[in-house]
Subunit: 349 residues, 2 copies
DNA sequence: GGCATGATATGGAACGTTCCAATAAATTTA
DNA sequence: TAAATTTATTGGAACGTTCCATATCATGCC
């Protein structure tokens, strides 16, 4: 009563074999769709399987070296629609090749990430696409590679990791939005969001700074604000910024969700993006189009990046090669209504 | 060369045992954290494990009847933020109990759903939380239950299924928005989105119809429009509606993403929600607040539903009971700016 | 010294597959 | 008709774990 409580004891190929009057080997052959077994026998076995409610035991098969058909997809923030789009792109490719992607969320926790990755390895995942959590170290990634696990890093590069990477051109994208704002006449431009330690942020800040310098400006350290790369993070950081006596005239946000959080914070103070302050995002998620005012941002095509990552992974699984490859997707400026020229009078409240 | 290409041959507890100078049984005990093994031995074994890069083989363990610590989470539309919120709620509960949720997306395909569920069973999932795809039959769900698989249906009920259910009060919610629109003076109210066959839609339509009838109105079949429960679906259906010579003055949308799609379609024709037509949603996703105008909708608290579903599943796994339970979450009306009284002149173009 | 006792450690069978080598039966070839 | 070939089928070992029953070795007690 307190022990095993499996409703129906597990049905195995041996039970099927007995029922169909053949050997377990024959059942195994039927399972693999082998042409070595006679039509009539195959039918009899199939009948027995559905009659007894047989469930294939993948664990036992893997034990004998069979390839499991799952691929792990480790995502740092499922609530960010950008990652949902990425996941869907990955799925588009994987499903056509017979792999089933299992998604797990780490919510930016490296501890959780380690658990999740371990669990996927334990279950015999054939490969992993990893959107690394915030403080992921190169070493963790390399350990995985050393075990021979096919692994693709997506979206976020990890310094020191020898893994393949699929990401967007962060520096170029950030430079493009910054140049756009400068051309509108902005001089005091803030960079808001993302954590200092993130490589992606470093890249975007580098592009941002470069654009400013090319225009003879310099990036003011007082206007470089950290935040978690989430809506809440953007909200908090912008709320702080708005308590200052002098506001920047434009804010380059780390990504779209940060920008949306920032715009929400502005709304609380009666300020409006595209009128009192120019705001830009990064990613071009569906939300960037829907929010009001529509967000000027950098289009990245998450779905395409997902497809590339999946293709790269499949290639590595098939070839057995672990040579790191890199794909950098284009980062296109998309101008919408969230950016205005600098207003004459800056302070609102 | 062409055969197995595992970078490092698999390390097993036997290798660890040899390295540490103990028997495999002792290694197994260390793995389980048993107190039967001496401190000093435990250390030696742990050292050997990290030295050789040991990976626990869950498949082999499951073979001996061990409980796998994964739970499957099958989601019909990952692109809908409502389901992302649900997933996060589920995760909040599961992670504290040592289970790791593996998420898989079915994109509303029953075929895909069957594949995904089978894969999860094959990998020894301890239970499944299922947001059923569009045309899921009661039989499919019952087959799963008959195998003894702990299973909770989330969000969408499936007629004929004997499974536990966690969902929101669809009829009451729809009745509330309809009553609200009627109190604003609307008489020609459309219901837009969702597929005829969906039980959830039937429930919402029933509440909608009841509210109309209580006000002495009747639901006009010409104003009941089907669509896929997605943004694209809402866009297409509203585009069609707008080609008619007479518009309704208010539209109750199946859910928020349909409503957002519908508002996008209105925008294309120069019409504005909350001015030319009242629009409502269902779910109260973050987007409902962010879009312009903010969407009047029915708040459902996806995170809470996710937590309930997870708790229910854990209870069933622990107790071994498969008695169906039901939790119906409250559906609260949230009034925002997307609803106006009926305009005097209706047609815009 | 003989004997329980408790603390650690261990061999071996079992779990459900796969796959090789072997067999049996039917068919073709010489 | 014997031998060779083809077509179907099968037993058994192996995969990496768990867990039971058993073994070893100090201790402490009579």
């Amino acid at each position: 009563m307190s022990g095993k409580r499996r409703a129906s004891a597990n049905v195995t190929i041996i039970d099927i074999a007995r029922e169909a009057g053949v050997s377990k080997s024959t059942v195994s052959l039927v399972l693999k769709g082998s042409s070595l077994v006679a039509e009539e026998t195959r039918d009899r076995v199939s009948k027995a399987m559905s009659k007894l409610g047989y469930v294939y035991n993948r664990g036992a098969a893997n034990l004998r070296g069979a390839q499991s058909s799952i691929v792990g997809m480790v995502i740092n923030d499922l609530a960010n629609p950008f990652f949902a789009e990425l996941a869907i792109g990955i799925e588009r490719v994987l499903r056509t090749s017979g792999y089933i992607p299992f998604i797990a969320n780490t919510a930016e926790s490296v501890v959780r990430q380690a658990e999740v990755v371990r669990s996927m390895r334990e279950h015999g995942a054939s490969g992993i696409i990893l959107c690394p959590a915030l403080e992921t170290e190169g070493r963790e990634v390399n350990d995985l590679l050393d075990l021979g696990m096919p692994l693709i890093l997506a979206i976020r590069r990890v310094p020191g990791a020898r893994a393949s990477l699929v990401a967007s051109d962060n520096a170029a994208g950030a430079a493009r939005v910054a140049a756009h704002l400068i051309s509108l006449g902005h001089r005091r431009i803030a960079f808001l969001g993302g954590m200092e330690a993130m490589a992606v942020r470093k890249d975007r800040v580098a592009g941002f700074t470069r654009a400013l310098e090319e225009a003879g400006l310099h990036a003011d350290p007082a206007l470089m604000l950290e935040s978690m790369p989430s809506k809440d993070g953007g909200f908090t950081a912008m709320s702080n910024l708005l308590t200052r006596s002098e506001w920047p005239t434009a804010v380059v946000c780390f990504n779209d969700v940060v920008a949306i959080g920032a715009m929400l914070a502005m709304g609380r103070k009666g300020a409006v993006a595209g009128r009192d302050m120019a705001i830009t995002g990064f990613d071009d998620t569906a939300e960037a189009r829907q929010i009001s005012p529509p967000l000027t941002t950098v289009a990245v095509d998450a779905g395409d990046l997902g497809e590339r990552a999946a293709q790269m992974l499949l290639r590595q699984i098939a070839s057995g090669s672990r040579t790191p490859e890199t794909y950098i997707g284009e980062a296109r400026l998309v101008v919408r209504e969230s950016c205005c020229p600098p207003p004459r009078k800056r302070k609102v409240s």
